[in-house]
Subunit: 362 residues, 2 copies
Amino acid sequence: MEHDITIKQVTTGKAKPDYNHLSFGKYFTDHMFVMDYNEEDGWFDARITPYEPLLMDPSSLMFHYGQSVFEGLKAYTSQKGGIQLFRPEKNFNRMNISSDRMNIPEVDPDFLVDALKQLLHIDRDWIPVEERQSLYIRPFIIATEPALSVKPASQYKLMIILSPVGSYYAQSDQMSPVSIYVEDEYVRSVKGLVGFTKTAGNYAASLKVQQKAEDLGYDQVLWLDAIEKKYIEEVGSMNIFFKINGEIITPALNGSILDGITRDSVIELLRYWGWNVHERRISIDEVKQAHTDGVLEEVFGTGTAAVISPVGRLKWKDEELVINDNQTGPVSYDLYDTITGIQTGATDDILGWTVPLQEQET
Amino acid sequence: MEHDITIKQVTTGKAKPDYNHLSFGKYFTDHMFVMDYNEEDGWFDARITPYEPLLMDPSSLMFHYGQSVFEGLKAYTSQKGGIQLFRPEKNFNRMNISSDRMNIPEVDPDFLVDALKQLLHIDRDWIPVEERQSLYIRPFIIATEPALSVKPASQYKLMIILSPVGSYYAQSDQMSPVSIYVEDEYVRSVKGLVGFTKTAGNYAASLKVQQKAEDLGYDQVLWLDAIEKKYIEEVGSMNIFFKINGEIITPALNGSILDGITRDSVIELLRYWGWNVHERRISIDEVKQAHTDGVLEEVFGTGTAAVISPVGRLKWKDEELVINDNQTGPVSYDLYDTITGIQTGATDDILGWTVPLQEQET
């Protein structure tokens, strides 16, 4: 797939928000990348345009049947100078995996990385320079065909929008542990469904339970499997890790959980450091037993938005397990420090994860 | 909830499509109903406007996390004169049930029935008069707040759009039996998820399997439960009924299947006629055994679009069960004839299901 990207720039950029008070995904940069799809032309009309509203027919299939995929990644100002991305090819490869399940036509990942770099270059003065700030990147595809029949659309729109963000969590200290409510009535997904994809419907279905957790005084939800209501799946919209008796355990990719890129990076880094990491089924009972035995040393979530989110308290039925005295543990801290360090150029990129913006500009 | 509905009509209506060649949900009438929601005002600015594209911010939550609900019902030209609706209050009540699961604010069903009647009155010359034609009505709510955080939106848009339709199936004879592929790898939903709601994501997730069924030469998919891959859930986007040895069986409402209004009407009508109707779990093995024993007399799907859709062939693993010699059975035929008769005024409304448009106009 080769596309020329036409570029139409704003004459005057928007005023920038206060970078010390950035909510997640609330402010958007001056430009966006857009590309359309139809059956005759495939993906066509790749363009960078001013950020602006879309005109959508009320019958657009997205509004009715939700056929869509999205991704989330970040660009960082490197402390060594320049702008860098973190494993962007993995996001666009995963978008194609999601698209395959959702009957959406695939897109050349290399082309999208290149398009993203061009967009970032144009909006480069929006990329935050302070620690813990970054430019969140949201690529997404929606079914735009105007029709009410339940079928794969014949028309789509792919967009990339950019939003400067601070910490995902409201608190300024990223590493303060979160409290988790273990849900045993509602479920997030099940094998044979679309839990492994980043598609809109997975997130809509989770809102009621997130609300329930908050009403009960907890920050996030820990999901159990739909079949036995026993095996741990994900936390909120993050993958989850347990450090038990000196070893690291995370649920295996089973078709219902997301193949997180931070998850993958954490596993790779832990193994590089010499830890035993087990990707396998782990039940809530095993976690509880480890806590009883005094060997549940750390629990943490992983995701692009939060990077590492330590878990301090775990509410399961009538019990509340307090983990590591509700403090961030050393593995959580080292992972956060190293991964954000690599992302921001403060730490050597020992695993070859970062992609500089400049290479593409020559 | 009381709202004034402001009305802005087109000066000149669109050209109407050829009513003898109507695809499902492809043509829309001159007007639509729209209402907005925000946290300060609740639902506000109820209006009937020309049918026109929406301006949507690229960050609108619907595009990313799919928070939405919809309904489907029909208006008919009665053979006794006038226009009538079929159990519209049930659709708007069910929309609130879906909304509750999807964290969307509820709407007064009586107000929406009234709003729909006003909209239908304005677009009344779009309502088909021929047999088997009707005006399909699509109410839906989408999350419009521009934000990328995973949370219930603070802004929504409710719309009702109208589309003249012929038969849902391409063939002119509605009652020609469909062939069904029984899926045992992918699933539609599971208890604890959102299968009982009409929300966009349920339909997006089904597309791949519908495609698989078509590739194998079958019209639609029969879904099994996600846990034991054994109990029958729905067919395509319809509920399903089995006539076995003189009794009628349909899967019970279990949290993962839709509480279909045609399903409810079929059960009520069958009981009115004196049939034994059982709402219970039914396994694919029981269906197969009934076929082997020569007592699988009829199978049919029920839904607003098709009303009754007889099933002639059922593909399950290596076997194909042919039902009633691949002919429409008498119960399927009587149900179709009676329900469409009631809907179109050809048959007395013995169960009080229809709502005339005129009452509201006084």
